[in-house]
């Protein structure tokens, strides 16, 4: 384990950064101006929505794509992790390792193709292409 | 060609044919086409009888007690083979079965029955199981048939029975199956003991009979067998299924149940309990006697309490089969003979009684004795038959039951006079319930206005007459039956064996 000193160095570094950040936050807390009571205007206690008084909860229901991206990330990131183990030893594992990685990537690509075709990668509803004539008809009527 | 597998397979094949026959032209207008299924059954029974007759009369010249043997490997790895043997005991039991089946086939009303084909198939399948049970000398095979006869019987009761049929069928199945599983363990225990002692894995009855057993173990195994048979017989604490099943079953099934299925219990006790574990059986005698006496008295007492005809007969069966127990375990040849005769007589008598009760129910649509009465005037032939069998049931000297009961009581007297006395007092109760039944159904004033009902036709009366004749012969001159149906001792294995059996 030759990188033990490295770990300690990084640890120290992290501590130093932590202290630094704490100083920054603390300093601004000390130096910053303060308002209290009636000085705090009503508008300061409202979330910013471009000048409109907010209505409803801020806990929105988000489009499903966000969740899908989360799932795909989880999957593909782990695939990356597995590929990385091969990446460092490409030459050592030889053609067998190459074949394994190749199969793996093919599987991955096929799954990606499947996801693509299934529409999982599309954001928003698919807008059907309509011929121009039809749109004209709509306008006329 | 060896007749034994034919005996076993013929009924089920016939059953299949009967089922097919009913399905070929089910809606034909001609009665002969509608009854095709029934004719097939009849043909099967006749064929079976012929085969049996061949066995009976072909080998009378031989000296050995085992009349016939058949063996073919089945599951060699487990030492399981299809081993069928027949001796006098099995033979007489099968004869009894056939006679009763004929009775059923002729007397059970067969018009307007839904699913006649299936009914006949199940009926014959039950018969297969029963005959298989009487013939098998491989313990696994025996168990196989033992289980096999339950299923069709279950369906018969559950599908064609009376009001509360399904609960009764479940009760019947679970009790018998539970007993069967315990017997399975006992069989396996015996086989394993034999395997440990000799290194040979076999289910052969004759081989297993030579297994060296410690007294405790043999007692345990004997009990395992005993429980299964006791459920079937039935012995008192485990009899609960019987009144329900008998009452709710359709007539034919009642006859099969009372006439034959109960006998498999007795047959099993003789063949397996006493023959395989003679020491344990003799040590078990006091318990068996107590159970027997309790059964006699309890059955008779309960029988006196009933209003339902079929229920009354069912309880009387318990009482009658109570005599079998001390007879079998008494250890004397006389007791054994008495038990066998009792079984035969009870099979015929009770079977006939159930048929009569069924006939009454078909005609009057009730089994409640409080609503029946004065049948003598309306149906003299039916009533006369009923009277005859009721009297047989109470043990009238000169009829089969008397011979059986007398022999058993005599044998018991030698062992334990107190028991014999108590058992004999059961006969008094028997007289009460039998006469009470006769009195209320046939003799008392009519309770309801009897619509014009059909009496037994002459054809049926002829059959009943045959049965009555049997009963009389059994009562007056039982000796031929006794010698004929004595169980073969194990030491004498069968006659010339072409295949050569593993020892």
């Amino acid at each position: 384990m030759e990188n033990i000193p490295d770990i300690w160095a990084i640890f120290t570094y992290a501590v130093v950064i932590g202290i630094l950040l704490a100083c920054m936050l603390g300093l601004s807390a000390i130096t910053g101006t303060r308002r209290s009571g009636s000085d705090m205007g009503r508008s300061m206690s409202l979330p910013f929505e471009s000048g409109i008084v907010p209505t409803g909860s801020a806990r929105l229901r988000l489009p499903v794509q966000y969740y899908m991206v989360a799932m795909f990330f989880v999957i593909f990131d782990v695939e990356t992790a597995i590929l990385m183990t091969w990446a460092t030893v490409v030459r050592e594992t030889g053609w067998v390792g190459y074949a394994a990685a190749f199969a793996f990537i093919v599987f991955l690509a096929v799954s990606l193709a499947y996801l693509w075709r299934a529409g999982a990668l599309d954001w928003g509803p698919r807008v059907p292409m309509r011929p121009v004539a039809e749109m004209r008809k709509d306008q006329v009527s | 060609m060896n007749p034994l597998p034919v005996l076993v397979l013929l009924p089920i094949t016939g059953g299949g044919l009967a089922w097919l026959a009913a399905h070929i032209r089910p809606h034909s207008a001609r009665p002969s086409a509608r009854d095709a299924s029934w004719w097939t059954v009849l043909a099967t029974l006749i064929g079976e009888t012929l085969a049996l007759a061949m066995v009976t009369f072909h080998h009378t010249g031989h000296a050995g007690p085992w009349l016939e043997h058949f063996s073919t490997p089945w599951i060699p790895a487990m030492g399981i083979a299809v081993r069928l043997d027949i001796d006098g005991l099995s033979l007489s039991m099968i004869w009894l079965s056939l006679v009763l089946c004929f009775l059923c086939a002729f007397l059970v009303p067969r018009q307007d029955m839904p699913g006649a084909g299936t009914f006949h198939f199940l009926f014959l399948a039950t018969l297969t199981g029963i005959i298989g049970t009487f013939l098998a000398t491989d313990l696994f095979l025996f168990f196989f048939f033992w289980e096999l006869m339950l299923v069709p019987m279950f369906v018969l009761i559950a599908a064609w029975g009376h009001e509360d049929r399904q609960r009764a069928a479940m009760k019947f199945f679970i009790f018998t199956q539970g007993g069967g599983l315990i017997m399975l363990l006992a069989i396996l225990g015996l086989v394993m003991t034999h395997f440990r002692a000799t290194g040979v894995l076999t289910f052969d009855y004759f081989a297993l009979s030579r297994t060296p057993l410690s007294p405790a173990l043999s007692m345990l195994l004997m009990l395992g067998f005993f429980i299964a048979f006791a459920v079937k017989l039935p012995v008192v604490p485990v009899h609960v299924w019987l009144p329900d099943a008998h009452t709710q079953a359709p007539t034919a099934a009642s006859v099969l149940l009372a006439g034959i299925l109960l006998k498999t219990g007795g047959y099993g006790m003789i063949r397996f309990d006493v023959m395989l574990f003679p020491d344990a059986a003799s040590r078990f005698l006091p318990v068996a006697m107590t159970l027997g006496v309790v059964g006699i008295l309890y059955g008779a007492w309960m029988s006196c309490m009933q209003d339902d005809v079929k229920r009354l007969i069912a309880y009387s069966s318990i009482s009658h089969m109570g005599f079998v127990l001390p007879g079998i375990f008494g250890g004397s040849a006389m007791g054994m003979q008495g038990a066998i005769v009792q079984m035969l007589a009870h099979g015929l008598g009770t079977g006939a009684l159930f048929l009569i009760a069924g006939a009454i129910q078909d005609r009057l649509h009730t089994r409640d004795m409080r609503h029946i009465g004065g049948l003598w005037g309306a149906m003299p032939r039916l009533s006369g038959t009923g009277l005859f069998f009721a009297v047989a049931s109470l043990g009238m000297p000169g009829l089969g039951n008397f011979a059986g009961e007398f022999l058993v009581l005599l044998a018991t007297w030698h062992v334990s006079p107190v028991t014999a006395t108590l058992a004999a007092s059961g006969l008094i109760l028997a007289a009460i319930y039998a006469l009470r039944m006769v009195n209320r159904i046939f003799l008392a004033a009519p309770r309801t206005d009897l619509r014009p009902v059909r009496d037994f036709p002459a054809r049926q009366m002829a059959i009943f007459a045959c049965v009555m004749a049997f009963m009389v012969v059994l009562g007056l001159y039982p000796q031929p039956f006794m010698t004929f149906s004595a169980p073969s001792p194990l030491s004498v294995t069968a006659m010339p064996r072409p295949e050569g059996r593993a020892p």
């Binding site: 570094y13 910053g32 303060r34 794509q65 190749f102 690509a109 | -």
Partner: protein, 318 residues
């Protein structure tokens, strides 16, 4: 741990902070230059002290935590953002010797991990603000960053395969004959795009998207906490630039000049490139951004991995 190393450890974050602060000025000046207008030019010579003025202002602004926000998380979020970026610098080998833990054998993985943690900063900021704009911005940022993290990792596979190591110093050493930008041009392209998306810089700054979402995930932030997000972004630019330098441009290697200078030059060039991109490119729609990632970059980087592997294997076996 040696004394000089300790000094380096303490000075590095300060230096990076300073650099990032200065970069805010540099960027505005450069944008002015490229867009043919003036940048900040009042404070100090050439507006040089503009950054100092901004810093001072930020320090004295009100330390405001909105009452509707989730207080603890709200304060923590910018610190996390800052922390992950600064920590990533630890494994960057400025020269053969300089660098805090440049020898770390999983250096590249460490950086990827830190970038992964960086997502928390924006998500937590957006969530804890309890405001619709902030939440939407945070979610957009999260989706974008985690998506592009996948492609970034995959695009790096080519480099790792060629170098046979995760250690950044080994990777630089493997480029003694040829910079990886040439054999790995595909990977480089993907990595650049992913790097821009990771730092949510223009043109991929949809999480902030001021014309749609106010200021995105840091809408409710002000004062030093906003400043930290701001600084972290510039530190991120420096980080990506120095990573590109290390991974694709041969790191400190170069003729004549000392290694440190070479490294600084290359990094500065990359930073300038970032700013140039901002000056010249329009912003795509969000769905276009995601489609670009999943439908173009991912297959491309998979292809890159396979191609690199094939060539490596062929070369090894011939």
């Amino acid at each position: 741990m040696t004394y000089p190393a300790l000094v380096a450890i303490i000075l590095t974050p300060l230096f990076i902070l300073g650099l990032a602060t200065v970069l805010t000025w540099v960027e505005r000046r450069l944008l002015g230059l490229w867009q043919d207008r003036h940048g900040p030019n009042r404070v100090g010579p050439g507006g040089m002290f503009q950054a100092v003025a901004d810093g001072t202002k930020i320090l004295f602004k009100q330390d405001w935590v909105p009452p509707f926000a989730d207080r603890g998380v709200f304060v923590l979020a910018p610190a996390i953002g800052m922390m992950t970026v600064l920590l990533s610098f630890a494994v960057i080998p400025v020269t053969l010797r300089a660098g805090i833990a440049g020898d770390m054998n999983v250096g590249l993985l460490f950086i990827l991990g830190m970038m992964g943690l960086g997502v928390y900063a924006v998500v937590l900021a957006g969530w804890s603000s309890n405001s619709k704009f902030a939440l939407l911005g945070g979610m957009r940022a999260a989706a974008q960053m985690i998506s592009y993290e996948v492609f970034m990792g995959l695009s790096l596979l080519g480099v790792i395969m060629m170098a046979g190591s995760f250690s950044l110093r080994d990777i630089v050493a493997a480029q003694d004959r040829l910079w990886f930008i040439i054999p790995q041009c595909l990977g480089f392209g993907v990595f650049m795009l992913a790097g821009i998306a990771e730092t949510h810089r223009l043109p991929f700054d949809l999480p902030e998207g001021e014309n749609e979402l106010g200021a995105g995930f840091h809408t409710e932030y002000s004062g030093m906490k906003f400043g930290m997000f701001f600084i972290a972004e510039y530190a991120g630019i420096v980080l990506i630039s120095s990573l590109v330098t290390t991974l694709y441009l041969g790191g400190w290697r170069g003729p004549l000049l000392p290694p440190v200078l070479w490294f600084a030059l290359k990094t500065a060039g990359m930073v300038a490139f970032f700013i140039l991109l901002r000056a010249s490119l329009p912003r795509p729609r969000y769905d276009q951004l995601m489609a670009l990632g999943w439908k173009v970059l991912l297959p491309l980087s998979l292809f890159n991995v396979m191609a690199t592997g094939t060539i490596l294997m062929l070369r090894a076996s011939l």
